[in-house]
């Protein structure tokens, strides 16, 4: 995950406070529940990248002669496959 759980919670709290303060949303949720809900959305969004990473790892592992893990070749291939899969899924990295 690109952001730590604490950072996601921190961002969610900031967003929740700002949108309530500026009257952009109204909700019957408590502040805490709203923060948790926003955090869940951020988490879900970032988790897509983790899923792509897992797909890339699986693709490389299926190769007949995969490059040595963490070698320059491996890193190059990882990035290339990651970009391809992300593009296919319409996900901006």
């Amino acid at each position: 995950m690109r952001l730590s759980e604490q950072r996601i919670q921190f961002l969610a709290k900031q967003i929740a406070e700002a949108i309530i303060r500026e009257g952009v949303v109204t909700t019957t949720m408590s502040g805490f529940v709203l923060e948790s809900d926003i955090a869940r959305h951020i988490h879900a969004d970032l988790a897509i990248e983790d899923e792509i990473d897992r797909e890339v790892n699986a693709s490389i592992a299926r190769m007949k002669k995969p490059p040595a893990p963490d070698s320059p070749e491996w890193r190059g291939m990882f990035q290339q496959l990651k970009q391809e899969i992300a593009r296919r899924k319409g996900y901006i990295l």
Binding site: L11, V24, T27, D37, D45, L93
Partner: protein
């Protein structure tokens, strides 16, 4: 003052770790090295391993990104564990400077040092010996701009500060749009102004990422002032940078 104290603590801890690693390196001498010299995000030169005798020699060659010999780089070995700091580097024994061989590695703790010709960089180093077949990155610790022989262009040398944010602005835009859409789908939330909601989400995430970049710049500046000590103790620059960033973040109450 407290930052310096915290940094000193970091340095001490890293020093201990380094000593532990050094002891491990002595027990398990290196045989094969494969280092990566990053020049810019798209170009790199590699030091390819050609083998060696465990604990005695390291041999290899430097190639550019296309795998061709990078003759404009010379390789020097540097024993950074000797008391009093680094000793004079040993030049590569091969007349062809794309190849190198170092003998008498009795300490099992040689740090390859790469200096481009002409020596525009004042220091490049790697802080640990790779396991056989493994690779690692050599980071620029100090240097100045100039023509870079590998890339063949006047490109900035490797960046000390990751000028890219952890999340790119384009990605933050997309995230904000998705989070807005997701929030609109929640029955207990009524969104009055979706565009404004998206803008707020974008702004908050973007500002947070920018704060991290600023923090990292500050950490780099702090480490730069302690460069000599870091070099002499053969510490991992990246580890120190991370620790310094975390310490600064703690003091500034920034969540990383």
């Amino acid at each position: 003052m407290s930052i310096l104290f915290a940094l000193h603590k970091c340095l001490s801890v890293s020093g201990e770790n380094t000593r532990v690693k050094q002891a491990a390196a002595l027990r398990k001498p290196p045989t094969v090295l494969d280092y990566v010299l990053r020049t810019d995000p798209n170009k790199q030169a590699r030091i390819q391993s050609l083998g060696g005798v465990p604990g005695k020699t390291i041999t290899g060659r430097v190639v550019d990104e296309a795998g061709n010999p990078a003759t404009s780089i010379s390789v020097q070995s540097l024993n950074s564990t000797v008391e009093g700091g680094p000793r004079a580097p040993t030049s590569s024994a091969f007349p062809d400077r794309s190849r190198f061989r170092f003998d008498e590695l009795t300490t099992g703790r040689k740090v390859p040092k790469i200096i481009p010709e002409p020596p525009l960089l004042s220091l490049l180093r790697c802080t640990h010996i790779a396991k056989p077949g493994a690779s690692t990155t050599i980071s620029l610790l100090r240097g100045r701009r100039g023509p870079w022989p590998i890339s063949g262009e006047n490109s900035p040398l490797p960046r000390l500060v990751s000028q890219h944010m952890r999340l790119r602005p384009e990605r933050i835009d997309a995230m904000a749009a998705r989070i807005t859409a997701a929030m609109r789908a929640v029955p207990r939330i009524t969104v009055h102004d979706p565009d404004k909601l998206q803008r707020i989400i974008r702004r908050i995430i973007l500002e947070d990422m920018q704060r991290e970049v600023e923090l990292e710049k500050e950490a780099v500046e702090l480490l730069r002032r302690h460069q000599q000590q870091i070099t002499m103790q053969s510490m991992s620059y990246n580890t120190l940078l991370e620790k310094t960033k975390r310490e600064l973040a703690r003091q500034k109450k920034i969540v990383l």
